[in-house]
Subunit: 261 residues, 2 copies
């Protein structure tokens, strides 16, 4: 109960937000109670939940982080948790970028999110954190708070190269802050198996990492349905349940659970 | 001479690095002398120049920024400028993320890059800065230093939504730090005109912005050639000059110059 997963990769646009939403949806279809945390000031996950102007929300993850930092009482959960189709979300807004600066001089600054999430672990099977494309203090908070990291990555040269830096950061967090952190694995997204380059990059990734990091069997194919879904504030599983990409995310949900998660 | 362009968009993976490299290549084919600045600690542009391990470079933009901050003498240009096919590059490494913290208490912290680039303006027609997917102190430095901003964007819902925040940031920089900053325009990348969604998002963008921001005629099509090119450390114009995407970037270079840039 209350297993916390960080969806992390500092490379931009590799499907972190899309994977957060669809893995959550798939797990909830399989009977799990899931809380989503939008931990990116760009608030894409919050937008995908149908919030057109995240900056106009009264209470977001920023306010909750400040409550922990200033040792103030948290507002009532009903005041800020958004619910949609069996998924709960703690939304974000651009204010969260101010936290990175505020954290500079805060005691135990890397574990503020960890302390915050203690308040929710008993209410959910899974808490999934959508991270920003950076390895700064916010992402470190997510890595410090989580039980495990799930890494979406594309079969592109720049995405594959970026994995080294991410793994180094996770190793450092493991050493200094969160000894129990594990890596669930690498999920290949936006996969188009018809190209020779993709196969080549996949082989590179397998050679470099498969010995000590799982590379999930499920590969999420590239599909315009994903963009269409976010435009309609839906996960692609809801929007086009019979599509290849929806089925892939559902398969991935099952695969994820099959490893005893 | 010495016109400085910031390639900026806080959304991840919208083609900032790809556009930096290929616009530069196109301009150099048209006879312009171009200096590239890799201003993203993830150092993707530096990798595209063939540097397998940016962190092993002796001198990068990080060291130069620290020279300005500590008022030390800059090393000789030949020590750090990388050259490749008529393009010059000041490379980056992960160290640059340390600068964001160091800048917190530095006098005139938003104009450190501006001061640094004074040393190069006379040697080049264009200086093009590749920014990271964030609107923190590094990107603010790029916006403070540039004459104009070029915004790559995809015709996707999340990418289009993110433009508001970027434009607000540019407006704030214009008001407080760089009154002469202009926006060259929005370049639509990874464009696939066969989908209804793309047309819809393009119309949204046109309605929202075309009245006061140019949306370039040239649209960069999605193509696997781009990934193949970066894997071979080349711009796509070099790698596959006859491909649609290469021709589009060449067209874009001409279009860019046609507006008197
Ligand atoms: N399987 C897919 N097929 C096609 N498009 C996709 C797929 N997955 C995601 N996308 C689209 O690609 C873009 C990037 O995806 P997403 O925003 O989920 O990545 P991200 O890693 O969260 O990006 P950021 O680094 O900016 O947070 C979005 O416009 C999304 O709709
Ligand atoms: N026109 C295109 N067609 C297909 N793939 C492309 C195209 N342009 C860029 N790409 C690929 O998409 C990925 C993202 O592009 P790129 O790295 O240039 O974006 P970015 O905005 O610089 O990302 P980041 O926010 O991480 O800095 C890369 O793997 C790149 O090779
Ligand atoms: Mg995201
Ligand atoms: Mg980039």
């Amino acid at each position: 109960k209350g297993r916390i997963i960080a969806i992390a990769n500092q490379k931009g646009g590799v499907g972190k937000t899309t994977t957060t939403l669809n893995l959550a949806y798939s797990l909830s279809e399989l009977g799990k109670k899931v809380l989503l945390i939008d931990f990116d000031p760009q608030s894409n996950l919050t937008m995908c939940f149908g919030v057109d102007r995240p900056d106009e929300l009264e209470t977001t993850i920023y306010d909750l982080m400040m409550c922990i930092i200033d040792e103030k009482e948290m507002p009532d959960k009903s005041k800020y948790i958004l619910s949609f189709n069996n998924l709960d979300l703690i939304p974000c807004s651009i204010e969260l970028s101010a936290v990175e600066m505020s954290l500079v001089n805060v005691m135990s600054r890397e574990v503020i999110l960890k302390m915050l999430l203690e308040n929710f672990k008993n209410d959910y099977d899974f808490i999934i954190i959508d991270c920003m494309p950076a390895l700064g203090m916010l992402t470190v908070n997510a890595l410090a708070a989580c039980d495990s990291v799930l890494i979406p990555a594309t079969a592109q040269y720049l995405s594959a190269k970026g994995l080294e830096l991410l793994l180094q950061t996770i190793a450092r967090v493991k050493k200094r802050i969160n000894p129990n952190i594990t890596i669930d694995g690498i999920l290949v997204t936006m996969f188009s198996d018809r190209t020779k380059l993709t196969k080549e990059i996949l082989n590179l990734m397998n050679d470099a990492y498969s010995e000590y990091i799982r590379i999930f069997e499920s590969k999420i194919p590239v599909s315009i349905k994903v963009g269409e879904a976010s435009y309609r504030y839906k996960s692609v599983i809801e929007y086009q349940p019979k599509s290849k990409v929806a089925l892939a995310y559902q398969e991935f949900g099952k695969e994820y659970l099959s490893y005893g998660n």
